[in-house]
């Protein structure tokens, strides 16, 4: 996740103040952690330092003075390059749920207190509860498309975890046996 490229992308629509950029970010990425204003400000400073953005002017509108920023040509090139770059599919399998199931199975096989089956059931219930929340959110009348896209993304990833958990629940006995005979 590159906040600097997202901010550059938001600047592509035209010169903006930090506050407008934050507002538009939160609108477009409704389920993401809201961007802190301080983070927008430091990102803009770095973009200026690296020659990717520059100060366009200042506005007062009767209130405090606000600096307006715009992307430079170099910034546009950098943005285009980022947008076309393939994100490499993750080379390593690292996930907390996966790790817990493996460790719980090892611990249980050694006779200590751990129950991977119960853990999987409870984790599955928590995933289902979150999926119900997201489904209600995305199907509520009048939901904007930004929210739908973001809920879809989350739902598909939760669903992938859930399918893995279902399959793994069916493999636990074999896994325990393998550990015991190793």
């Amino acid at each position: 996740m590159s906040t600097r490229h997202i901010v550059l992308g938001l600047l592509a629509a035209g010169p903006s103040h930090g506050y407008d950029l934050k507002r538009r970010h939160d609108e477009r990425f409704p389920q993401a952690r809201p961007l802190a204003y301080g983070q927008v400000y430091t990102t803009l400073q770095r973009l200026v330092r690296d020659g990717l953005a520059e100060v366009d002017g200042t506005d007062a509108d009767g209130g405090p003075e606000r600096t307006r920023y715009r992307a430079t040509d170099k910034g546009s090139v950098e943005l285009a390059q980022w947008l076309g770059e393939i994100t490499p599919p993750a080379p390593f399998v690292t996930n907390e749920i996966f790790a817990k199931v493996v460790v719980a199975t090892l611990v249980a096989a050694s006779g200590e207190s751990a129950d991977p089956a119960a853990y999987l059931r409870e984790q599955r219930a928590a995933h289902m509860a979150r999926m119900r929340e997201l489904t209600a959110l995305k199907t509520a009348p009048g939901t904007d498309l930004a929210t739908v896209l973001s809920a879809d993304y989350a739902l598909n990833h939760l669903d992938a975890d859930l399918r893995w958990m279902n399959t793994t629940a069916g493999r636990l006995a074999a896994l325990t046996e393998e550990i015991n005979t190793a």
């Binding site: 249980a108 489904t135 006995a173």
Partner: protein, 252 residues
């Protein structure tokens, strides 16, 4: 959670059902509250469809009770069960099963006519339901001219038009792509909420199950983790080894 402490609208108690030597249900119990949307999930062969068929009075369990509105569905004659399915229950399957020779409007009107409505009344009501499911543009079409999603929404309109108190849907999105599934499920859930209709939804897809208020998971013909059932079924197929079930006690 399931019944809010009141009498359930529909309840299955300790159902057993075998097809030949295959035991589809081995003591499954479930309750459905008025207006509740319940998902029955589980792997292929877990018994979820058989449970739905027993609840809807399509098949009769070998043992156990199905109680709907204080009536024993499992003890009803075929005629009584058939009447129940035409009036108080609506049933939708994976493929819409519309009558190919009839227009969409006539398909939805048919159960209303069978229930004694006049043709103009049946058409008016069918039209209202088709509008609710966004299928008003297809009233004169024949089922063969519909997409899978459109056909499924027409089938749902037909299931709900009679004023059914419970709709049973067996993999209603199983033959649809994800966007058509979303439209179908959204239409079903909104219509059910507006009319207070309860829904029993069988699906193997967690994204479909997430439209329900509650999920009941089946494994090997039993309900996983249900109150009073957890010790029997919880880790039955997960592990036959003593270590898994022993550590479960310790955890609790």
């Amino acid at each position: 959670m399931s019944t809010h402490g009141g009498t359930p609208l529909l309840a299955a108690r300790e159902l057993y059902k075998s097809y030949g030597r295959a035991e589809a249900l081995r003591g499954a119990s479930v309750e459905l509250a008025e207006g509740e949307i319940l998902a029955l999930t589980g792997a292929s062969g877990s018994g979820k469809s058989t449970l739905l068929h027993c609840l809807a009075g399509i098949v009769r369990p070998d043992d156990g009770a199905v109680v709907y509105d204080r009536r024993r569905v499992d003890r009803m004659s075929e005629d009584e069960r058939s009447l129940l399915r035409r009036t108080e229950f609506g049933v939708v399957f994976q493929f819409a099963q519309l009558i190919p020779e009839l227009t969409v409007l006539d398909n939805v009107s048919l159960p209303l006519l069978l229930a004694g409505a006049s043709r103009p009344d049946a058409h008016a009501k069918a039209g209202e339901w088709l509008e609710r499911f966004g299928a008003l543009g297809q009233v004169t079409a024949r089922p063969g001219q519909l997409s899978g999603g459109q056909a499924q929404r027409v089938a749902l309109a037909r299931a709900l038009a009679t004023g059914a108190r419970i709709v049973f849907a067996d993999e209603p999105t199983g033959a649809l792509d994800s966007l058509a599934a979303e439209q179908t499920m959204t239409a079903l859930v909104h219509a059910a909420r507006e009319t207070g209709t309860a829904v029993v939804l069988v699906t193997h897809d967690a994204q479909v199950a997430a439209y329900a208020d509650r999920e009941v998971q089946l494994r090997d013909g039993k309900v996983v983790g249900a109150p009073g059932f957890a010790p029997v079924s919880a880790s039955a197929s997960v592990s036959a080894s003593a270590s898994a079930s022993a550590s479960e006690e310790e955890r609790a």
